[in-house]
Amino acid sequence: MAQKNIANWGNYPVVESNERSFSFDEQLEQLVEESIHFIPRGNGRCYGDASLGEETISTLKYDKVLSFDTVNGILECQSGLTLDKILEIIVPKGWFLPVTPGTKFITVGGAVGSDVHGKNHHVDGSFSNHIIEMQLILADSSTIVCSPEKNADLFEATCGGMGLTGLITKVKFRLKKIETSYIKQKQIKAESLDDIIRLFEEYKHSTYSVAWIDCLKKGQHFGRSILILGEHAKLEDLPEKLKSDPLKLPAKKSIPFPINLPSWVLNSLTVKLFNFLYYGKNFKKEINNVVSYEPFFYPLDAILNWNRGYGKKGFVQYQFVLPLEAKQGLVEILQRISNKGLGSFLAVLKVFGRQDSIISFPKEGYTLALDFPVRKGLFEFLDELDQVVLQYGGRLYMSKDARMKPEVLRAGYPKLSEFRKIVNKYNPTNKIRSVQSDRLELTT
């Protein structure tokens, strides 16, 4: 048994786990049979405790591309393959991921388990929207195929089901056609929260949109932000010098983050400075340019392990969605955070289009994500925020969560009992369970 301490991206919580991995189907079968209980684990990029447990089965060595239809844009792979590797394969052939989160270092299994969303949710939906078919191994070690048509209940509960229905082994999904590997980007300054919401509305047909909010700014400029919009550039959009190699992969450059910084580094002063710098870069009201997909989609990936910047105690990310009409809730939450001064390195605002899955996080509205270093008083404060979120008809993203109470989950996800029924059918003895699923009383 290889016991080791593991944590996900937020470095909170840290859990002692027996983590095992496999390369072949028979090995996985044997692992599942031998386990008392387990939770599937991808690249540990969820922030909290979703892929943590006493026993984890890592998919990282199960990472082979099985087929790639370059004519119709269909890829099939094993679940441990990461998105960064997929991009290297598909981009030169004129294809892109249909949906990508803000980091490319996640596995396909994780993309399904959290049913991840990107900056194009209002246009393209979440990752599960593009899956043709997938294969799972269940708690009883049997293998099963599911799709929106076949074993549809299993399919629905697996997308966003945080690994609780079974371990996804193979996924076949549709890609997005691109002419170039570049993005036509537009950045617009917004003076206030009203302003940014108005801009989102105005640019709702933009394929990609996201806003960075300076959530500590008080007074008149409360909610000042930058809206970043993007479209896949067509060949004619490229400057002459890029036209000869339009599908070029971005050069690999990344700087490792040296060490765990003490968390005072991220006090509200540095947060202010960061926001000011980011904001100050945009001296004009609007900037239009063509950039590689890398800085557009993955600005944070350039600094490997930036999560260490939050110190040893770790941090949590708080991400919620509120219905479109609940703008006042957004104001209230941002105000509370600003007053508390607990600091958030990032405040990211996106819009979600319609989605009505049983357990996936996205539903129509605005979603905001903020980071908080773990410290005394934080969880009490977040409990208060939860109440505001619920009051406005919102809910939290399990993939970012490390601390919400089970009542908060139940109140936010009206189809939770349906989800539990399906989990019960495929994972009847709660053999598949995580620290999170136990905490949220999904498997207890």
């Binding site: 390369s23 990472d63 591309v65 087929s67």
Partner: protein
């Protein structure tokens, strides 16, 4: 473009080496006892790198089949990388001859058997590169690992002799002595991170050694110095140590 044969292609290290060599534009031949296990890697390599990738059944310990195995390869490889090996608990193996023999055959005899055949072919063609993944465990026997270590010691000596013999035939032989590597084989051990290479680092070292015609490579440079120190400890002291 060369053709690279990987012997024992199901291990983590072999996967990394195969991908690295394919990324450099070489065609790949994967060989392992359980060829069914190679199918996913075969599609992975041909899709990712756009090279030819074939799979073959090969059992390192079934010596009698080695000739026909090599005959069946088409085309004949330009580079052969011998990755297979096997490690298990020494104390248990020392009380179980079958297990001892398995360690010896998988790490030494099997390699000699198949590389003898490869060497004949390469010598005749006056070209080719042979890479053997041996181990620092073969540099000095320790109580915790001496059956595996002695088999690897034999393999290391074999490789250096082969290098010596084939030099005049313009055939190059590389001995790779990785220190600790994070693989399935070592998943149960707690390894010191600084001394531990990942499989990509091993693959990069192998690729570089082939290109630069290096003779003996330790993947992480300080292993060379560590082994020099370990080898220089007088036997009188060494035998009393708990190593």
């Amino acid at each position: 473009m060369s053709t690279v044969l990987i012997l024992g292609a199901t291990s983590d290290m072999a996967v990394a080496i195969a991908r690295k060599m394919a990324a450099k534009g070489n065609n790949i031949q994967l060989a392992a006892r359980n060829a069914g296990r190679l199918q996913a890697l075969q599609s992975d390599i041909s899709i990712r790198y756009g090279v030819n990738c074939a799979i073959y059944e090969f059992d390192a310990t079934d010596f009698a089949t080695h000739s026909s195995f090599y005959l069946s390869l088409s085309p004949k490889p330009d580079i052969v990388i011998c990755v297979f090996g096997y490690m298990s608990d020494t104390l248990a193996a020392s009380k179980n001859w079958e297990e001892s023999l398995k360690i010896i055959n998988s790490n030494y005899t099997g390699a000699v058997s198949v590389l003898n055949i490869v060497a004949e072919d390469f010598a005749e063609r006056n070209s080719g590169t042979i890479v053997g993944i041996s181990s620092v465990a073969g540099e000095r026997g320790r109580q915790s690992n001496y059956i595996y270590g002695s088999a690897k010691a034999g393999f290391t000596a074999y490789l250096s002799g082969l290098r010596n013999r084939l030099y005049k035939h313009k055939v190059h032989v590389v001995s790779v002595l990785p220190g600790f590597v994070n693989t399935k084989m070592t998943a149960e051990l707690k390894l010191p991170p600084l001394l531990t290479a990942d499989t990509e680092q091993v693959a990069a070292a192998v690729e570089k050694a082939i290109g630069k015609k290096q003779n003996v490579v330790y993947v992480k440079w300080f292993w060379k110095w560590i082994m020099m120190i370990i080898k220089s400890i007088p036997e009188n002291i060494f035998k009393k140590k708990n190593l």
